[in-house]
């Protein structure tokens, strides 16, 4: 009886331990970190207007419109959500440690929705990531950075050195994936933001 109880206890502890583990990118090995920071190539040019056609799916609802992003200075980006007619729906400014809403229409001020946008766009627009881990895969180098009580992993293609994906993870679970399709450096052609713990995705297509 005692042996079977012990066995069950050991198995349970193993399962709990696995669940508490830290996320590690698949098919990649930990290697020496040789850089202290990684510069985000996207949205980094203050002279450019980054204008996207946006499609959001949130809890089964489909919302379309335009998203405009502008780098205001070294730290701050301004983000505007608008209808296709151009009417502003939401206007905020964001940096690594601030989030200021300039304008919203009724319905765009849901706290959970705004928090999700704040977290997503902070990661998307962050100019520089402090790197503390590096992994090597077959075709990519993956840089890890501590963010928002978790880690963000930056996937750079070995061949063309483009940042094509970011994964935000807490403990052992992927929470958010950012995917970039790119032909030029600072203006990604297409960006997907996919939440894994709630039915929320944002697709941005350059216009």
């Amino acid at each position: 009886m005692q042996k079977s109880v012990l066995r069950i206890l050991l198995i349970s502890l193993t399962l709990i331990w696995t669940g508490c583990g830290v996320y590690q990118p698949e098919n990649a090995e930990l290697t020496t970190t040789t850089i202290s920071e990684y510069s985000n190539p996207y949205f980094s040019d203050t002279t450019k207007d980054y204008v996207y056609k946006a499609n959001m799916e949130i809890y089964g609802r489909n919302l379309g419109g335009i998203v405009v992003i502008k780098k205001i200075n070294e730290d701050i980006h301004r983000v505007v959500f608008a209808t296709d007619f151009g009417n502003k729906l939401l206007d905020f400014e964001i940096s690594s440690d601030s989030f200021k809403v300039n304008f919203f229409v009724d319905g765009m001020d849901n706290k959970r929705f705004l928090k999700a946008l704040e977290d997503d766009f902070r990661m998307l627009l962050q100019p520089v990531y402090a790197i503390n881990k590096t992994f090597v895969g077959k075709n990519e180098i993956i840089y890890g950075s501590e963010q928002n009580s978790g880690n963000i992993y930056l996937f750079e293609n070995k061949e063309d050195k483009f940042l094509y994906k970011m994964i935000f993870a807490r403990k052992s679970k992927e929470k958010i994936t950012f995917e970039f399709q790119n032909k030029k450096d600072t203006f990604a052609e297409h960006i997907g933001i996919i939440h894994h713990n709630m039915p929320f995705t944002i697709q941005l297509t350059k216009i």
Binding site: D49, K53, N55, K70, D84, G86, N87, K88, I207
Partner: protein, 213 residues
């Protein structure tokens, strides 16, 4: 030498004043307002349908350039409208029998606008902007101007809800046509949307398929 320089600068100053007065708008007199409104109302009565291309410029103060989109529009009196963006993306919105039908790059959705006061106001505003027939003193404070080539009617919404979305609408009517050639939607922030109509066809043939998404 000083005399020549003074003449030169005076000429520049005069030219600047003349140029600015071309863009300046003069308020219409009471008689002119009556004539203008009567001209537009008469013309809009004769408009059974309207097909037009448009170019839209969205101005936001913090951007380096205006955002430009373009497309076409079909209107059938009294209240059928298909507003279609074709460049740089496909998006269309049809106003039909109290319902709004959207096709956003293949994603279709519809909803009932009737009974929703805000949507009804916006519906009426868009159709009124296109047809020029929106001289409703109950809904708007209206003022009238002219410049060198156009009458300009300015509408300030009286409804608080509508004011949140649009601070002022400007409609431009060429002197010779009394048909809206340009719409400017001003926001309280100073940002605006300017829509210029081109290749307008009055009373061209339209069919039900023009109003399906």
């Amino acid at each position: 030498m000083n005399k020549i320089r003074n003449v030169f600068f005076s000429l520049i100053a005069v030219f600047a004043v003349i140029s600015s007065s071309f863009a300046q708008q003069q308020k219409l007199s009471a008689n002119e307002i009556t004539q203008f409104k009567s001209g537009v109302t008469e013309k809009s009565k004769k408009i059974k349908s309207l097909k037009t291309d448009f170019v839209q410029h969205k101005h936001m103060s913090f951007l380096s350039n205006d955002i430009e989109t373009s497309g076409n529009m079909v209107f059938q009196a009294p209240d059928l409208l298909n507003w279609r963006y074709t460049k740089p993306y496909q998006y269309s919105i049809v106003f039909k029998k109290g319902k709004i039908h959207i096709n956003d790059q293949g994603n279709k959705s519809s909803f009932d606008a009737s009974g929703n006061k805000m949507f009804e106001k916006i519906n009426k505003l868009i159709i009124g902007s296109v047809s020029g027939n929106m001289f409703d003193d109950n809904e708007f404070s209206i003022s009238y101007y002219k410049n060198k080539t156009h009458y300009v009617a300015k509408f300030i919404p009286k409804s608080k809800d509508l004011k949140k979305v649009i601070a002022e609408i400007e409609l431009y009517f060429p002197f010779d046509t009394f048909v809206v050639s340009e719409v400017k939607l001003n926001e309280s922030s100073g940002d605006y949307t300017r829509i210029v109509f081109k290749n307008q066809q009055l009373n061209a043939k339209v069919s039900p398929s023009d109003f399906t998404n």
